[in-house]
């Protein structure tokens, strides 16, 4: 017993540098942020939360952020899920090639990528030119500075974060499970929903948590693709801290954003554990 304690202590000691770094660089600022969202005129309370959550404008801002987060997550999931299976089935050389193609866009800065979208979506951009030449529209559509443009751009920016976790799980799935299911009379649809989907779920959950938390907190892409027209939580946080000198607004919004993201990530974790157990 005594011996085991000593072991545990020495292992704990190894984590000390990381723990102290995280305490200093993450936990302390986070505690300060939470405290400043609770502090009103020198007293602690929920007044800030009551004020902002009772204001239809800020509820709209939270709704906008949730809308972006959920739409981006769903679109990237729909695109990445079949793609991950296709990738996993490719010969090894093709897998490496596709992986490289997925990684290369990640090395391009988000500003450059978003700026590219502003060119594509212009009235004389590729999308409008193609639609005009196909005779599908008579005059250029207004695409830039609309929520649709934002969701299209965000899905592009965050697609690799959905694809990679799903692919890494899918490629490890043992094909013999499918053969076994088939030998027991399961049809392709049944095999997909009852064998493949549950086995790929850990990857889906990792991808969903990543994309949702990144997209709900995105700042640059919304700013460049819709500007002020579509207020999001991250833009509101920046406004509070940087432009109007209202740290209470910034801190309160930041904590609300954190709670939403943490809830989604923890729920995903719970679903994953539940599935693993069953």
């Amino acid at each position: 017993m005594r011996q085991r304690n000593v072991d545990a202590d020495s292992v704990g000691f190894l984590a000390a540098p990381a723990v102290s770094y995280m305490l200093l660089a993450f936990a302390a600022p986070m505690a300060w942020l939470c405290a400043s969202s609770l502090l009103v005129n020198g007293e602690f309370g929920l007044a800030n939360y009551r004020q902002y959550l009772g204001d239809p404008y800020y509820l709209g801002v939270i709704r906008n952020s949730l809308l972006i987060g959920i739409s981006t997550t769903l679109i990237t999931l729909l695109l990445a899920y079949p793609a991950a299976f296709a990738m996993a089935k490719c010969p090894v050389w093709a897998q490496s090639l596709i992986l490289a193609l997925v990684f290369v866009p990640l090395t391009v800065g988000v500003i450059v990528k978003t700026f590219g979208w502003t060119i594509v979506l212009r009235s004389n951009g590729v999308v409008n030119v193609v639609l005009l030449n196909l005779g599908l529209i008579d005059s250029p559509l207004r695409l830039l500075f609309t929520p649709t443009a934002l969701i299209a751009g965000m899905s592009n920016v965050f697609l690799p974060y959905m694809l990679l976790p799903i692919y890494s799980v899918v490629r490890m799935i043992d094909r013999r499970y499918l053969d076994a299911a088939a030998s027991l009379g399961a049809g392709p649809v049944y095999r997909f929903f009852h064998v493949l989907v549950p086995l790929s779920l850990p990857g889906v959950i990792a991808g969903v948590s990543l994309v949702f938390s990144l997209s709900i907190a995105a700042y640059v892409t919304p700013l460049m693709l819709v500007g002020d027209r579509f207020g999001t939580m991250s833009v509101t946080i920046a406004r509070g801290f940087l432009y109007v000198g209202n740290p209470a607004l910034g801190a309160t919004m930041a904590v609300i954003l954190l709670i939403i993201t943490a809830t989604i990530v923890m729920l995903s974790g719970r679903v994953a554990r539940g599935r693993a157990r069953s």
């Binding site: 404008y57 709209g60 212009r122 004389n124 830039l144 002020d228 027209r229 207020g231 432009y243 109007v244």
Partner: protein
């Protein structure tokens, strides 16, 4: 300016700041370096036009710490007890805050004799800070789309410009100018009194919404939209970069709207307790001199604040630029920003 250049300049700036931080004070005194904090987008022009000239004349090395006004303000606050910069060049509304917080120290006629040669409207709070140039804030337009130009601010409200007008957001310093113009159009009062009736500005700006292509927080992106013809005009912008872009063949120009134009607030101040105060005053004195001020129109496409300065042939000196009451604006900005987000942007 290309992205790579910007990044390189930024790296040089950062390395320079780091070097100054790392060096002991004695070493800094020996090499006679002057740290100036100022706007990143003007870094190259400042070096070409002013810094190289001053360095040659005085054997001083100027280290330019690049950034935006608000980041410089944060640095001034953080380094309050041991400032790194001697001089700070930021927008007037941010100067108001810096002055209220005691981060800058007055420029006196004793230390800067050329103060007597610049416009009284360029000297603020008894010399707490001064404007070193007045770029014009006006309307810029795409010459392919609007070959006839724009005659008035009121034109932006015409239905034919639906979805074509680019408007800077209130987060940007110049964003407030659109509100002042709107208040002027709604009330008929001069700009100065229109500012006191900003409600009217919100009312008139709401009517503009169908014509607005976007409310922009990023000026580079906004210029790009105008140059590419996605928008036909941009309100409340500094004319400063326009001349250089026109020379490169870009189809843009600035208007001279009949209601009047504004002075963009490019200000300079001495950092309180900053290093080398005499050298810093010497630089500001040089910047106010007839010689340096005569370089402003040709190189920076802006009005000199020194009326004795010459301007090249063909440069139209804009007299009677309106200088808004930035102190009043700074005091009300947070409340206006909140209204803007609710009533205008959404």
């Amino acid at each position: 300016m290309t992205m790579t250049n910007k990044r390189r300049d930024l790296l040089v700036g950062a390395a320079a700041s780091a070097a100054v931080l790392a060096c002991p004070g004695v070493l800094r005194a020996e090499t006679r370096e002057l740290v100036v904090s100022g706007p990143a987008q003007l870094s190259k022009l400042f070096r070409q036009v002013f810094f190289s000239r001053f360095e040659q004349a005085t054997n001083v090395k100027i280290l330019f710490d690049e950034g935006v006004s608000l980041s410089h303000l944060e640095k001034l606050r953080a380094n309050r007890n041991r400032p790194i910069s001697s001089i700070v060049m930021i927008d007037d509304p941010v100067m108001v805050t810096a002055n209220n917080e005691g981060l800058i120290t007055p420029i006196t006629p004793a230390a800067v004799p050329n103060l007597s040669r610049i416009l009284p409207s360029a000297i603020h709070k008894d010399g707490a800070w001064i404007n070193y140039m007045f770029p014009v804030a006006t309307i810029a337009y795409n010459t392919n789309l609007l070959p006839g130009g724009v005659a008035a601010w009121a034109d932006a409200w015409q239905p034919k410009f639906k979805g074509q007008v680019i408007v800077p957001t209130l987060q940007l310093t110049q964003g407030v100018l659109t509100l002042i113009v709107a208040a002027h159009l709604e009330t008929g009062l001069p700009f100065e009194q229109a500012l006191q009736n900003i409600d009217a500005g919100f009312t008139r700006l709401k009517v503009l919404k169908p014509n607005v292509l976007a409310f922009m927080a990023n000026t580079s992106q906004a210029w790009n939209l105008l140059e590419q013809g996605e928008g036909s005009m941009m309100l409340s912008v500094s004319s400063q970069p326009v001349a250089a872009r026109r020379k490169q063949g870009v189809p843009i120009n600035t208007a001279t709207p009949r209601e009047g134009m504004f002075a963009m607030p490019n200000a300079i101040a001495l950092v309180k307790n900053g290093p080398q105060p005499e050298l810093a005053a010497q630089f500001i004195n040089a910047l106010c001199s007839d010689e340096y001020q005569s370089l402003i129109a040709g190189n920076l496409n802006s009005n000199p604040v020194n009326l004795h300065a010459t301007v090249p042939a063909g440069f139209e000196r804009a007299n009677n630029l309106h200088v808004p009451d930035w102190e009043y604006i700074t005091a009300h900005r947070a409340a206006w920003a909140d209204r803007w987000a609710r009533e205008i942007a959404g």
